[in-house]
Symmetry: C2
Subunit: 208 residues, 2 copies
């Protein structure tokens, strides 16, 4: 992703200036309206300098993300002993971030970068998506240990769904990404969509 | 997406040839290795002819998809009366398609196009993702009608998860897209992850 000149002091400063400009502009105007020209102007370098070092804006945004120049959510699902509350808190924080246009733009940008480049996909997964997935699986596994989740369930598939649901909304852009469905999805996963057989005390059931 | 010349017979033939070449090459080499040069060569037109009409390969692939030149799965979830079996059949068909590299490349390509262009996102949603989502919601709603799904559940959020889970796998590229987790995810959604205490269907009871 970087040109051969990286490492020399002057070159390193240019590199940093371009990444900083990218971050500023992603936050200010979003991915769609970000242009290489705009980044070059903000960084105070020539357009060709940027084109020489990065294949395009996807590569630029990916590197900006990977170098930690953009805000990342706290990734760990807490374990207070209350599985539903812990997952809900984490999911609502994730959805809250994805509901912000700047973050949504960035996620779409990284999805785009990952689509174009298997190496970028691998790097982005190792840095972001992988840890999100792993912390969900860990928390669900802790639920198995204390008898709150039945043993044998494919926890990885459940984590796919918990991350995939808001991701789908961000990418499809058809409905706003809000926390409104989060609780219902979580309840479906924890207690099932099926109605309970007759005789079960419905007042003891948490279903909104 | 189309140049001003579209509509004249000669121009229309060129347009069709380029879209056909795009489809052939997506299937043969995938999105990543697809190039405008390759498409132009396959279509027997000049590179500049393609560049004049489409902004880039994302726009090209999006139009190829939207004009129905690429295979689309049967989108309707059947209603045999057995909710689990109907959803499983549909999901396994979807996952089977997404597990093929040609389809996965195409989905990544359309995600990339949608990330770059809100109009493309809207068109792709109307043509593909929206109908997939709607048929799931309809089938779940039919389940409510016959007492197999509890009333009041956010069916849209559940559909997000059923589409989002395999979508996440395709985009993250970290694990193969297989049907292995499909059944477990479906069971989690239908019957819940919580274990059943002996004799009591207590998975819904408030755990807080």
């Amino acid at each position: 992703m970087t040109g051969p000149g990286r490492g020399r002091p002057r070159s390193e400063a240019v590199h940093r200036a371009v990444l900083s400009a990218t971050c500023e502009l992603v936050e200010e105007v979003g991915y769609e309206r970000l242009s290489i020209e705009g980044v070059a102007a903000r960084a105070g370098v020539g357009k060709q300098t940027v084109y020489r070092r990065w294949a395009g804006k996807s590569a630029l945004v990916t590197e900006a993300v990977l170098t930690g120049r953009l805000a990342v959510p706290d990734q760990t699902v807490r374990d207070t002993g209350d599985l539903r509350a812990d997952l809900l808190l984490w999911l609502q924080a994730l959805v809250g971030l994805l509901g912000q246009e700047a973050t949504a733009s960035l996620v779409r940008a990284t999805a785009s970068a990952a689509a174009d480049d298997a190496d970028a996909a691998g790097e982005l997964y190792a840095r972001f998506t992988g840890p999100l997935h792993a912390t969900l699986v860990d928390r669900l596994a802790a639920g198995v240990d204390v008898g709150q989740v039945r043993p044998g369930a494919d926890l990885s598939a459940v984590a796919d769904a918990l991350i995939g649901a808001p991701l789908y909304r961000v990418l499809a852009r058809a409905e706003p990404v809000t926390t409104s469905g989060t609780e219902d999805l979580l309840d479906a996963l924890l207690t099932g969509l099926s109605p309970l057989p007759p005789g079960v005390p419905a007042e003891g059931i948490d279903r909104r």
